[in-house]
């Protein structure tokens, strides 16, 4: 009997590597070191000598993104070497670059350049503004939209992870205010995210346009397996579709909850979180009991 379909999901960036699931994945450390060394040969801005325990370089948002990308790429390479071949993949926010690398659509170097250009383009758009992101758990979308509307806050809901779990982006002061209001309204958990820019915020459209121009010379190839969009839950294969996703990923809202439902509707419920955190594994508990999410240290 054929194995049920498998999805590789690549998470957003993490800035704590002191305990990380790849540590228990055979061959991961060697693969990660190899990719870091390879990347350092071509990019002087890359953090040679990254150390998991010291968490060095991780006070720098861009370097953190590079490390997460390299980590995720190394993880999926090890899995593929061990005959874990995904039928689909999905990239959660920054995870999109690793999903593209894993599916053979871009080289390691191209992924780093995409990340760099996205960061620079967004930085230019929010220059002079103090921006931020936050998470709210325990309220529904309508509750949050009402709070935003009532106080006229410059904030978008930029992702939904589960029925009562949301990510918001916008002006930092407004994010802080919204989290306070959400707590008063009965949210069970709120927190600001350690980022300086409002990823997926609608006002980043100009950044996306600049990013598109700056990266138009970079090669993107058809993907080996379909990548499912977190923006509109469509299957992406062609370079044109993938480029559109890369651009949209900067300024359009994501919906991870809908994406998981998309998979469930097709009878696909096995996922491996290819990254340094277990956040998507934990989140899946609040989505559907049928979902089987595995972190790198718990693959059966």
């Amino acid at each position: 009997m054929p194995a049920p379909p498998l999805v590789f999901v690549f998470p957003a960036f993490s800035n704590d590597y002191s305990v990380h699931p790849g540590n228990d994945l055979k061959g991961f450390k060697e693969q990660f070191d190899q990719l870091v060394n390879e990347a350092c040969r071509f990019h002087e801005f890359l953090p040679a000598g990254f150390h998991f325990q010291d968490n060095n370089f991780l006070d720098d948002e861009l370097k953190t993104q590079y490390i997460t990308y390299l980590y995720s790429c190394a993880a999926s390479m090890v899995l593929r070497k061990n005959q874990r071949i995904p039928d689909y993949s999905a990239g959660y926010s920054l995870g999109l670059y690793a999903a593209l690398y894993d599916s053979g659509s871009i080289t390691l170097d191209t992924g780093l350049r995409f990340i760099q250009q996205a960061y620079l383009a967004i930085g230019e758009s929010v220059k002079g503004q103090t921006s931020g992101m936050g998470t709210i758990i325990g309220l529904d979308r309508n509750d949050i939209e009402l709070l935003i509307g009532k106080s006229n806050l410059k904030i978008d809901i930029t992702n939904q992870n589960a029925p009562y779990s949301f990510v918001v982006s916008g002006i930092r002061e407004d994010v802080v205010k919204l989290l306070y209001l959400a707590n008063e309204e009965g949210a069970l958990h709120t927190r600001t995210l350690p980022v300086s820019v409002p990823y997926h915020y609608h006002q980043l459209k100009d950044a996306a346009t600049r990013f598109e121009k700056k990266t138009s010379h970079l090669d993107v190839f058809p993907s080996l397996n379909p990548i499912v969009s977190l923006i509109d839950q469509k299957e992406l294969h062609t370079p044109r579709e993938l480029r559109r996703e890369l651009t949209g990923n900067l300024y359009l809202p994501l919906n991870w909850y809908k994406t998981q439902q998309w998979f469930l509707l097709r009878g696909i419920y096995r996922f491996i979180e290819c990254g340094p955190s277990k956040s998507l594994v934990k989140n899946a508990k609040f989505v559907a009991p049928e979902l089987r999410f595995f972190s790198l240290d718990r693959i059966p």
Binding site: I137, L139, G186, A187, F286
Partner: protein
């Protein structure tokens, strides 16, 4: 509302102890009602949410999460014992949980 029997508290306690032992990877014998959830077990509010979901399913509860959230702001939980007390109130009063503050 779910029927509260003499056995309910023991049942809730058993679920809560097993849950934290499993999630926090500690021996169940190290947990007691005075154990501090965040300080001693490194627990978090997501675990609280997960427990609520477990009890909602087990006792077929009708309660909005924000009702629990509002109640928690006024009655913060720090220990395992306090968490069990709150779960009992949730099971007993469901969406009328906030009425307890009006009555008291």
């Amino acid at each position: 509302m779910a029927e509260i029997t003499n056995n309910t508290r023991n049942e809730v306690k058993e679920i809560v102890y097993n849950f934290f032992a499993d999630e926090c990877e500690v021996d169940k014998s190290q947990i007691n009602d005075n154990t501090l959830i965040i300080k001693d077990l490194d627990g978090d509010s997501l675990m609280f949410l997960e427990l609520i979901e477990i009890f909602k399913k087990k006792y077929n509860l009708e309660i909005e999460l924000k009702v629990i959230g509002k109640y928690s702001v006024k009655h913060p939980v720090a220990t395992i014992g306090q968490l069990i007390d709150m779960q009992m109130l949730i099971i007993e009063h469901e969406n009328q949980l906030l009425d307890l503050d009006i009555k008291s």
